[in-house]
C-alpha cells in the first residue's frame, strides 16, 4: 500500500474514531434518554415480533373458521396452560373449538378454567401496569357479556348431561356476570333466564321457573319457544348460534377507548326441518351485540379517556411549539415524541369465536332417528352454501334431547372422504 494512501486511511480512521467518540460522549452523556428510549423501543418491537403462540393461534383460527374443530382444538390447546395475560382467552378458544366440535367434556373444563379467572381478583399487578402502559397489558378477563357466555356454555353442557343443579348454578353465574351491565340491562340475558327456568322445572320448582320464564319473555315477548305450551310439551331443544362475535374497535381520543360493531356475517335466521318436515324458524334469544353495547362503562374507561386526552394534548402542544416560529423547538420535539410514544391504546382483545346471536327452537318429536336440515337465511333468502344437513340424530324416548348447532359457510360438507375398511389391531391405511 503506498505510504500516501496509508496516511490517508489512518487519518480517516482517526477522524472517524474522534467523531464516534464525540458522538458516543454526546449520546451517552448522563441524563440522556436516547439509549434508554432506543432500548425500550427495540425491546417492545422484538417482543411484539416474537410473541409466542401467535402461530398456533392463527392456524387455530384458520381451522376454526373452516369448521375443522378437532384441528383448531389441538392448535389452541398448545397455549392453554400458558400463564400470561391472555390465559383466559386461550382457554375460551379451546372451549369454543371443543364445544363446536362436540367435545363437551374438554369444552366444560376449558370454560370453567376461564370462568374461574374471570370471576377472580387476580392480575392486580398487570392491572396497575395497564394504567400507565397499554391497556392490553392487563390480564384479560373479558367484558360482562363474554363472562356471561363462558358460564352460559358451561351451563348448557351440564344441562345436556342432565345435571340440573350445576346447570342452574352456571346459568345463574351468567346472569351475575351480566349484573355488571348498564342500569336497565342487568337481567336481559334472556337465554340464561330461559334455561334457568327449565332447570327449575326439572328440579320440580315451578314457582321459581315461572319467575325466570317471565323475565325471559319480558326481553323477547315474541319468542314462541318461551311460551308455556312450548316449555311444557316440547321434547327437543335446539340452541343455534348465528354469525360472528361483535367486533371490538378502538374509538375515542387517540383510540383510547373501545366500542363494538356488528360482526360481519350474512345469516339472520334459521329454518329447521326434521325428516323433510318444517319444524319452524328458530327465534332470537340473545343478541350479543346488544349485550356488548349495554355492557356499561367502568372506571377503566374513564382512565383510558384521560390517557387519550393526555396523549392528544401532548401531541397538540408539541405540534404547536414546532409550528410556532418563536416556539421552543426542543420542547416541541420532546412533547410531540412523548405524545406519539405514550401508550394509550384501548384493549381490543375479545373472544371473537363467539356467535353474534343465539336463537332457540323447540319441538315435539317422536323418539327415533332424524335427519335435521337447517336452512340459514339472509333477509328471507336461503343461503345454500350455509345449509346444514345432519343425519341419524337421535331423539330420546325419555327426557329432553338437547342439540347445539352453529351456522357457517360450507360447514356441513357432503363430500365425505373415501370409505375405509379398518380392522381392529391393524394400523388404518
Amino acid at each position: 500500500m503506498p505510504a500516501q494512501e496509508r496516511n490517508c486511511r489512518e487519518q480517516m480512521f482517526s477522524e472517524n474514531e474522534k467523531t464516534w467518540a464525540a458522538r458516543k460522549a454526546r449520546v451517552c452523556r448522563p441524563g440522556s434518554l436516547w439509549p434508554v428510549a432506543c432500548s425500550l423501543i427495540s425491546f417492545c418491537l422484538l417482543a411484539a415480533g416474537c410473541a409466542g403462540g401467535s402461530g398456533s393461534r392463527t392456524a387455530g383460527r384458520s381451522a376454526f373458521w373452516q369448521h375443522d374443530y378437532a384441528a383448531a382444538q389441538k392448535l389452541f390447546a398448545e397455549n392453554q396452560d400458558r400463564a400470561d395475560r391472555n390465559y383466559v382467552l386461550y382457554n375460551l378458544e379451546v372451549g369454543s373449538a371443543a364445544f363446536e366440535g362436540g367435545d363437551y367434556h374438554t369444552a366444560r373444563i376449558a370454560f370453567e378454567r376461564a370462568a374461574q379467572v374471570m370471576r377472580g381478583y387476580g392480575g392486580g399487578t398487570q392491572g396497575l401496569v395497564s394504567l400507565i402502559a397499554n391497556e392490553s397489558a392487563k390480564l384479560y378477563k373479558g367484558d360482562p357479556y363474554e363472562q356471561a357466555m363462558a358460564n352460559f356454555y358451561d351451563g348448557l353442557i351440564y344441562y345436556r348431561w342432565g345435571d340440573w343443579g350445576n346447570a342452574r348454578a352456571a346459568f345463574h353465574q351468567a346472569l351475575m356476570s351480566d349484573q355488571a351491565s348498564a342500569e336497565g340491562h342487568r337481567e336481559d340475558f334472556a337465554v340464561a333466564q330461559f334455561m334457568i327456568g327449565k332447570c327449575y322445572l326439572k328440579m320440580d320448582e315451578p314457582d321459581n321457573a315461572r319467575i325466570s320464564f317471565e323475565k325471559a319473555r319480558a326481553k323477547y315477548p315474541q319468542n314462541p319457544y318461551f311460551s308455556d305450551d312450548a316449555i311444557n310439551n316440547h321434547n327437543v331443544l335446539m340452541i343455534i348460534g348465528l354469525g360472528r362475535a361483535p367486533l371490538k374497535v378502538p374509538s375515542g381520543l387517540a383510540g383510547s377507548t373501545d366500542d363494538y360493531e356488528r360482526g360481519r356475517y350474512r345469516e339472520t335466521a334459521a329454518n329447521v326441518f326434521a325428516n323433510g318436515k318444517p319444524l319452524g324458524q328458530a327465534s332470537l334469544a340473545v343478541d350479543l351485540l346488544d349485550q356488548a353495547l349495554t355492557s356499561g362503562r367502568s372506571a377503566k374507561d374513564t382512565i383510558q379517556t384521560i390517557k387519550g386526552g393526555i396523549k392528544t394534548g401532548l401531541v397538540a402542544a408539541g405540534a404547536q411549539q414546532l409550528a410556532d416560529g418563536e416556539g421552543d423547538k426542543k420542547l416541541g420535539s420532546i412533547l410531540l415524541l412523548a405524545g406519539l410514544l405514550m401508550p394509550a391504546g384501548a384493549d381490543i382483545r375479545n373472544w371473537d369465536l363467539l356467535p353474534g346471536e343465539i336463537h332457540v327452537l323447540s319441538a315435539k318429536l317422536e323418539p327415533g332417528s332424524y335427519t335435521f336440515r337447517i336452512d340459514f337465511l339472509e333477509n328471507s333468502t336461503t343461503l345454500l352454501d350455509y345449509r346444514q344437513v345432519w343425519f341419524h340424530v337421535p331423539v330420546k324416548a325419555e327426557g329432553e334431547t338437547v342439540l347445539f348447532f352453529r351456522s357457517g359457510r360450507e360447514k356441513a360438507n357432503g363430500n365425505l372422504p373415501p370409505p375405509q375398511s379398518p380392522k381392529f389391531g391393524e394400523a388404518p391405511m
Binding site: A48, S62, G102, D103, Y104, T106, H392, L416
Partner: protein, 169 residues
C-alpha cells in the same frame, strides 16, 4: 473547531435518521420472520342432499344394527356394552359364549374406553381417536357433527399421529 462541530452535528443528524428508519424496519422484519402456521383443509365442499347415509358402524346413537358384532372381534358394532346389547347379539346367534361382564372385560383388557367410562368427548380425549381410526376411544361421537357422520359411515380422515408426550391429558 466550528467546522469540526458542524461536521459532528451532520454526523449526528445522519445517525438519528438512520436509527429513526432502522427501528420500524426491524419491526417489520421481525413481524415477517415470526413463525406463522396455517391450516389447510383440502377437501372440496358439496351441499348435502337429504338422502340418509347408510350406517355401516353402529353405535349407541344410531342404535344397534341387527346382525353386527363387536368391531374388536372383526365386526362393525361399536355400541357400548349393556345387557340389551348382549341380548341382541344372542338373538342374532352371535357371541353366545359371552355375557355382559365378559364383554366389558374384553374392552377393558384391550384398553378401550367406552361410554361406561366417560362421555361426550367426540373422540378428542387422550384415548382418542376412535377405535375405527386406530385409537382406544369407543365413546359414541356427538350427533350433529362431521366426525359423527364420518365414523358411522366408515368414511373418515385419518388423524395425523401425535407423539405420546404432546397428547392432551
Amino acid at each position: 473547531m466550528k467546522a469540526e462541530g458542524n461536521r459532528q452535528n451532520e454526523e449526528g443528524k445522519k445517525r438519528s435518521r438512520f436509527l429513526f428508519f432502522l427501528f420500524p424496519f426491524s419491526f417489520f422484519l421481525l413481524m415477517g420472520c415470526a413463525q406463522q402456521r396455517h391450516h389447510a383443509r383440502l377437501d372440496l365442499f358439496r351441499v348435502k342432499d337429504e338422502t340418509p347415509l347408510k350406517v355401516v358402524y353402529c353405535n349407541d346413537h344410531t342404535g344397534h344394527v341387527p346382525g353386527s358384532f363387536p368391531f374388536v372381534l372383526g365386526g362393525t358394532c361399536c355400541c357400548t356394552p349393556s345387557q340389551e346389547l348382549i341380548d341382541a347379539y344372542h338373538r342374532d346367534g352371535l357371541l353366545l359364549d359371552y355375557d355382559l361382564s365378559r364383554l366389558i372385560q374384553l374392552y377393558e383388557g384391550l384398553g378401550i374406553q367406552t361410554a361406561r367410562d366417560h362421555r361426550d368427548c367426540n373422540n378428542q380425549c387422550s384415548w382418542g381417536p376412535h377405535v375405527l381410526q386406530g385409537g382406544k376411544c369407543m365413546v359414541p361421537p356427538t350427533p350433529g357433527t362431521q366426525h359423527y357422520e364420518e365414523i358411522i359411515t366408515g368414511r373418515f380422515r385419518l388423524p395425523k399421529p401425535e407423539p405420546e408426550d404432546t397428547k392432551r391429558r
